[in-house]
């Protein structure tokens, strides 16, 4: 029997505001525990929330980016449950009147086709703090750090429009691309800036009726998400094929151990008792505010891709990859404008640089090679100062912090010899010193002579310590050998 998979996503996106959604405490990442948790974040008695304007604007910008309805009047609710990382004993969130209504996101699939994923809504809410289970404290305790408590989030809820892990990943990456492009999220997955809850169900192929779904919560990388979906789909099919039924439940997937488990016991007791938050009034968004944000909305990934194709004459494919990540697109444009060579800028950004960053698990924002440095390298490649092979060596040296391309080329004496007078002399010297090879060349059939050129090249490059410009050497060599025939 064959099965269809149905997937819907809930994506938590941390907004890149300077302060919390309801307090003036900083949201900067990596501070000492509880140094960015003010009296409001700690839910001290008598403290009250005041809504951050930028959080509202960012949510609206997301709505505009997915062509969604913007809620003219939205409202906050309290979602009640006890947990040590939730200081008030309720999360302030939106339920009945979210700020962003229905919208659409187009994703590109591996076969080049596109697909529309509907967004059900997106709402504003506050993040929780963190429970630490290990530290300089008795192991019967947990340590609570509330620095993250109150960080603004939008939760983006999709319709169950995806049918495979690949589509879900494409959708998740597209959301990542949109929120980083419009600058409302830093996109740092390793810092928890985006987290995914995945709803998965299966049904017999072609069936109209949806199967029972499970929700796997809090996945924080595309890789874990893909694994979690694939494993969950396989598990559900196994259960059903063995005559079992799927329980509607919340699951956790541990990306390190690759083990998923049910949180059923916890779910049963939940009754969140949502009700309108009396400390916050209805949020009214004016048409003027929306229009102003629309005017200021940065370029969206799809528009950027189209522009890259047109402006830089890149392929659709290259333009798509570069525009999918705002930081990469910005980096590419910075390199291009500094070196005036879009093709090489694209190749190096997507190739050597991306590969190196991936290996080291670094984001482009933290790249040891700046756009300016990469542009400097490309300038020297383009003007034939260095060969492609040397360029890789220079790139490594820049990465290691040895300075600019020119500094490294000078320091290592890597400058390619392109002076034709010097090269002619070098070729003449090598031919004179290798009379036997020259004779062999002359006596070889014309059709096979080309193969013999490599031997001369090797000698010449050796004599030049690799610094001779190979293309020029090739030309000179061919010319000189022809003269001897």
């Amino acid at each position: 029997m064959s099965w269809d998979t149905v997937i819907g996503l809930e994506i938590h996106v941390q907004l890149a505001t300077k302060t919390k959604i309801f307090s003036g405490a900083s949201t900067a990442y990596g501070a000492e525990p509880n140094t960015q948790a003010c009296a409001i974040d700690l839910a001290m008695p008598g403290t009250l929330p005041v809504l951050n304007k930028q959080a509202v604007n960012y949510a609206i910008m997301f709505g505009l980016a997915i062509d969604a309805e913007i809620g003219q009047v939205s409202a906050f609710e309290r979602k009640n449950y006890f947990y040590p990382d939730l200081p008030k004993g309720y999360q302030t969130t939106q339920l009945e009147k979210p700020i962003v209504g229905r919208g659409n996101v187009e994703i590109q699939l591996a076969d080049g086709s596109t697909k529309n994923v509907r967004i059900h809504h997106a709402h504003l809410e506050e993040d929780a703090g963190k429970s630490l289970h290990e530290g300089n404290f008795n192991s019967s305790f947990s340590g609570i750090d509330l620095n993250r408590a109150g960080t603004p989030l939008i939760e983006i809820v999709s319709e169950p429009d995806m049918t495979s892990a690949e589509e879900a990943i494409a959708f998740a990456k597209k959301i990542h691309s949109i929120v980083t492009s419009i600058g409302i999220c830093d996109g740092e997955m390793s810092q928890g800036s985006m987290r995914f809850d995945v709803n998965v169900s299966v049904k017999p192929s072609g069936s109209e009726t949806l199967g029972t779904r499970t929700e796997t919560k809090n996945l924080n990388s595309f890789k874990f998400m893909e694994e979690a979906i694939k494993r969950e789909v396989a598990r559900q099919i196994d259960v059903i094929e063995d005559g079992g039924t799927i329980a509607q439940e919340t699951r956790l997937y541990n990306g390190e151990t690759k083990v998923a488990r049910s949180m059923r016991s916890k779910e049963e007791a939940n009754d969140y008792r949502y009700f309108p938050c009396p400390d916050l009034l209805p949020v009214v968004v004016s048409d003027e505010q929306v229009e102003e944000l629309r005017r200021k909305l940065p370029e969206l990934p799809d528009a950027r891709q189209a522009r890259f194709v047109k402006q830089y004459e890149l392929s659709e494919y290259d333009a798509g990859i570069l525009s999918s990540d705002a930081a990469m697109a910005n980096y590419f444009e910075a390199v291009t404008s500094a070196c005036n060579n879009a093709k090489l800028a694209a190749n190096w950004t997507m190739g050597e640089l991306s590969a190196r960053l991936n290996n080291e698990d670094l984001s482009i924002a933290n790249s040891p090679v700046s756009a300016e440095q990469l542009a400097g390298l490309i300038v020297r490649i383009a003007d034939n100062s260095i060969s492609g092979k040397m360029a890789k060596e220079v790139f490594e040296a820049i990465w290691a912090g040895e300075g600019s391309a020119d500094q490294i080329i000078d320091a290592r004496g890597l400058k390619q010899v392109s002076d034709s007078g010097a090269l002619e002399q070098m070729v003449a010297d090598v031919l004179a010193a290798n009379q036997a090879m020259v004779d062999d060349y002359i006596n070889t059939d014309e059709a096979k002579r080309k193969k013999k050129l490599g031997g001369f090249m090797g000698q010449i490059m050796k004599a030049s310590k690799g610094q001779a410009n190979p293309q020029q050497v090739n030309q000179i060599l061919a010319k000189k050998l022809n003269e001897l025939l």
Binding site: S26, T35, C38, I40, F141, G143, L146, P278, L281, V283
Partner: protein, 95 residues
């Protein structure tokens, strides 16, 4: 009117209030009498009446995104039951 024991236990769990065996029937009876009072609402015709969450017809004011709260960890944790290295300590959380 009294509330069923099972219901009281659920409310106690949701609101994290330990209720001891001896008082459960008394609690049930007293909650029941309050519910009887509030049940008067059921007779009211509220068709088409909008729910009112706030007494004033005002809208939410928005705050500029500027840091106004500086680190006061020491003062805020001075009154905490148990802390270590800047963390609030609670009995171990089992996820």
């Amino acid at each position: 009117m009294s509330i069923e024991r099972r219901e009281i236990e659920k409310l106690a769990t949701l609101s994290r209030i330990a209720i001891n065996e001896e008082t459960i029937s008394e609690v049930s009876q007293r909650l029941g009498s309050v519910l009887e009072l509030v049940d008067q609402l059921q007779a009211v015709n509220t068709d088409g009446v909008e729910a009112m969450s706030h007494p004033m017809q005002a809208t939410q004011r928005l705050r500029e995104d500027e840091v106004t709260e500086l680190n006061r960890r020491e003062a805020l944790q001075a009154i905490a039951p148990e802390t270590e290295d800047g963390l609030f300590l609670v009995p171990k959380v089992i996820e």
